[in-house]
Symmetry: C2
Subunit: 205 residues, 2 copies
DNA sequence: GTCTATAATTCGATAGAC
DNA sequence: GTCTATCGAATTATAGAC
């Protein structure tokens, strides 16, 4: 939730290639990406790409690892803070992720597609699981819902309400007849509304 | 919301190939799919696939068109029914889509990925837009929210809460430590809960 | 209609000069 | 480190026999 690694503009050749790879992979997915496109985007030669990263797959793994880290950076400090209210945490999570996704709208669809395409590669360390399940945040959700609602459902809703519009943006823009500016305004409004909606879910019934 | 075209088991060779193509395309995406895989899945030869459908892309277009239709079948009759309440419509939409997605969980991620990869190909007829915007359902959402809430936000939420868990299921199963059976139980529960949550959103604030 | 064999192309990766 | 040129594998598509 702090600094944005995806925006560092390093000038070394290796970094130039990685940034080009991130851009092309994220836009087209692993299978549809040609290493030639990455080389062109980076303004270097195809051979040089293999010189630096040995193979398409190794380059992909590095880029993807950094993408995942990007999404988790700062999350722990929010989830495990024992001095803030649940509502405060929800506001922080939603607001920070919407800010991030407005800068990198292709990220979630890309990551979820690649996880589905290769679940074993992302057979994540138990850490990702415990990060959520052992957190103070999770306890707060459980307590606030007090047996009336499965906390997992609330987690799904927070993430879904936040992330889904970016995943479906081409569709939403079309059926909702929205241009980029209007879409962006909707996302800004959601930063305010999602915590209110979630709060309602925790009290309903 | 009625019959399920994806489940028709036609015995003609053309249909066998189409069903195999749907299965492989949906699982792996267009770029990662090899026509050889489709042929093998269909139990026929690679040459025969081209004999029937001329090219990988033409076969894909046909399958995708049917997939999209599948998602819209029966929707019009719900959206334009002037005799049912808004809550009743929401229940019908959510329940029917969750039922469909439990049978075809890969469908949304596949379709949204391919739309993003090739937005021009899906430059849909104005029909898809007006189907929603001119509907009685949309009027009801607008009225019920009475200026306090943008109806588009509510639409996003209905679809997002319904579809997102299927898009993110590999991730959810991992971080939530859920097996398929538990995941399925959550989705069943959401059929009941989503209309309640949406109802809360329409009254809040 | 269905098959085997192969042409034609694309793409990841490497050899080798500078 | 960086380039040009090319190899070799994979893949779509087709030719031609049955």
């Amino acid at each position: 939730m702090t600094k944005n690694k995806l925006e560092i503009t390093d000038t070394t050749t290796g970094e130039k290639i990685k940034e080009a790879a991130r851009k092309v992979f994220t836009k087209k997915g692993y299978a549809a990406t040609r290493t030639r496109d990455i080389a062109e985007e980076a303004g270097i030669n195809l051979a040089l790409l293999n010189y630096y990263f040995r193979s398409k797959e190794k380059l992909f793994d590095i880029v993807m690892r950094e993408n995942m880290q990007q999404l988790l950076i700062g999350l722990r400090s929010v989830l495990y803070n024992e001095t803030t209210t649940l509502l405060h945490k929800i506001k922080a999570i939603v607001s920070n992720y919407i800010n991030l996704l407005r800068k990198h709208p292709d990220l979630p669809l890309f990551i979820l597609s690649e996880i589905k395409a290769n679940p074993d590669k992302f057979a994540m360390n138990i850490g990702a699981r415990t990060l959520l399940l052992k957190s103070h945040f999770f306890k707060q959700v459980k307590e606030t819902g007090k047996g009336k609602i499965n906390p997992i459902q609330i987690i799904i809703n927070i993430i879904g309400l936040t992330v889904f519009p970016f995943i479906a943006s081409p569709l939403l823009k079309h059926v909702g007849d929205l241009n980029q500016k209007e879409f962006d305004a909707l996302m800004k409004e959601r930063k305010k509304m999602i915590p209110i909606w979630i709060n309602g879910m925790l009290k309903v019934k």
